[in-house]
């Protein structure tokens, strides 16, 4: 029994589109595609369709038949604004720091005094820091291309400007001091650097392990959500204590890098990152609790037992 769908603007209630002869098993995704045909400027990624003008967005997988509507379904449309894919944003925001840091490392002209152009630091830790920072962002780029599975394809366009300013700005700020001709190596010398490097490497391996574990939770192309559990990989055993061990390890990596370089801007970057990741971890933790009745009670969002 074919259904009819009318789409109204959520704010003005203006009738934007009327679709007749829609299959009852049609998904919201298909309806979005039909809507784009009459309004090509609103491609599916920027459409939010809901049953109630102030309600939650319907998911792409929702089936028309299963919604609480009659023979004619009334859907309300909100324009989410220009969208950009997550992959594009990630690649751009991570490629920046990789490139920018190297500009400072090689002491490209006009950053430091001209007598320092293309010179090299005499401190081992500065070379080590460059390797750590660069491999960190290479890792992120590779994970974006080959590991992560995104539940939403896109985000609002303005995010790319916000995110790039943050990543690129901090990368430049940190790199300026670490690669400065007047850089002062850590107070406790090689011991400090060795300890910090160990922390950094362990946390990077940990973070990667978690990303792989999360990827394996979700088959390619699906949007299923499951509770993550520890696997045979010891790095994943942190799942016993926190919901988002990837964030825990990430904070750890940056703390390691801060100790290694003994540089205040790095510490500040770690602090800001920690604040943001804690907000995300708490949100993720809350949605896990809401979605799964049997969610392990011992887990905290980001710091075992504490936060």
């Amino acid at each position: 029994m074919r259904k009819m769908v009318e789409i109204l603007d959520a704010k003005t209630r203006e009738k934007l589109c009327f679709l007749d002869k829609v299959e009852p098993q049609a998904t919201i995704a298909e309806i979005k595609n039909l809507f784009t045909k009459t309004h090509p400027q609103w491609y599916p990624a920027r459409q939010s369709l809901r049953l109630d003008p102030k309600g939650k967005s319907l998911k792409d997988e929702d089936v028309l038949q299963k919604l609480p509507v009659g023979t004619t379904a009334t859907l309300f449309f909100r324009d989410l604004g220009a969208q950009i894919s997550w992959v594009t944003v990630f690649l751009t925001e991570y490629a920046g720091p990789l490139f920018i840091y190297l500009l400072f490392y090689f002491r490209v002209p006009f950053i430091y005094g001209h007598k320092y152009d293309f010179t090299s630091s005499r401190h081992t830790v500065v070379h080590l820091a460059c390797i750590c920072h660069s491999s960190h962002y290479v890792k992120r780029l590779l994970e974006t291309l080959f590991v992560h599975r995104f539940s939403h394809g896109t985000m609002p366009l303005r995010n790319i400007f916000k995110n790039c300013t943050y990543y690129w700005g901090f990368a430049a700020w940190m790199a300026y001091y670490i690669n400065h001709p007047l850089y002062t190596p850590p107070t406790y010398g090689a011991q400090q650097v060795k300890l910090a490097l160990t922390i950094f490497v362990i946390c990077q391996l940990g973070n990667f392990s978690i990303h792989m574990a999360l990827r394996d939770l979700r088959p390619a192309g699906s949007k299923t959500r499951k509770i993550p559990y520890p696997t045979k990989n010891p790095f994943t055993w942190l799942f016993l204590l926190v919901s988002c061990p990837n964030y825990t390890y990430e904070v750890g990596s940056w703390i390691g890098f801060a100790i290694m370089t003994q540089c205040v801007p790095v510490a500040l970057f770690s602090l800001v990152g920690f604040t943001q990741m804690t907000i995300w971890a708490k949100g993720k933790h809350r949605s896990y609790l809401k979605e799964f009745r049997d969610y392990p009670p011992l887990r905290m969002p980001i710091i075992p037992f504490l936060l």
Binding site: T184, V264, P265
Partner: protein, 254 residues
């Protein structure tokens, strides 16, 4: 910015419930409002603050009459100004614990910018304390705060005289630009002394691998007024249209 932000987006200090004084951006949302203990505390807070800024106002007038000129009046109200403006930090706490329905971020921004001007500029750079620009922003802040805190007091008691609401949403038209001018001129006057003394600045090399140039920082602060002031100012103008026209309509039905 401190002058502007103080009157702008805060629903602050408990004045949110009911029609009177509400609508600083929320419109018709039904807010729970603070409980009886919180309300009593907020009333006391707002009364104390109103009184404090009145003390500053009176202090200014008396000093003017005694001296016969309006120069260097800062010294006569320095202590209460520091005390009551710094006391406003409590307002951040009020938002954080939820007894006031404003955004913590917005309130922090506005209070911190005031505190910054009082301590990090005027107090820290003694040479600017005799500048007339200081009087300019002190007067703007004083009038603004007296009205703002009495506005909140009356709103909490659900008895807001129209004149206070009118004053709050009208006087800013002059007080904002006045305050901003005073603030900018004061920061500008401080610059050479900051440069000379290397105030609050740290240079390389040092073991924290960090540097900070307070002089440049102050210049950036001044530049930030360019995008921020118009936004806040026009937001208030928009609020004024919304709130004062709504009251006119209600009066028609009385």
């Amino acid at each position: 910015m401190a002058a502007v932000a103080a009157t702008a987006a805060t629903k602050g200090n408990g004045g949110g419930s009911g029609r009177a004084g509400a609508g600083e951006g929320g419109g018709t949302r039904k807010r729970k409002g603070p409980g009886p203990v919180a309300t009593a505390y907020l009333v006391i807070y707002n009364v104390v603050m109103t009184a404090g800024w009145l003390v500053i106002a009176v202090g200014l007038v008396r000093a003017y009459l005694a001296k016969g000129s309006y120069h260097s009046l800062y010294y006569s109200i320095e202590k209460p100004l520091k005390f009551f403006q710094t006391g406003a930090l409590l307002e951040i706490l009020h938002c954080a614990i939820g007894i006031v329905p404003s955004s913590v971020v917005l309130t922090s921004f506005q209070v911190m910018s005031r505190v910054f001007l009082i301590w990090a500029v005027t107090h820290s750079v003694k040479e600017v304390q005799s500048e007339d620009s200081v009087l300019l922003f002190v007067i703007a802040w004083t009038i603004t705060e007296i009205i703002r805190y009495s506005f909140y007091t009356f709103s909490l008691l659900n008895h807001l005289p129209y004149i206070i609401k009118w004053a709050r949403y009208t006087l800013f038209i002059v007080l904002y630009p006045m305050g901003v001018t005073g603030e900018l001129l004061t920061i500008y006057a401080a610059l050479p002394f900051v440069r000379q003394a290397g105030l609050y600045s740290i240079s390389l090399p040092n073991k924290y691998n960090f540097s900070f140039d307070y002089y440049t920082f102050l210049i950036l602060v001044m530049i930030s007024y360019i995008p921020l002031f118009p936004q806040l100012y026009f937001h208030m103008i928009h609020q004024r249209r919304k709130i004062l026209s709504r009251t006119e309509e209600h009066k028609k039905f009385d």
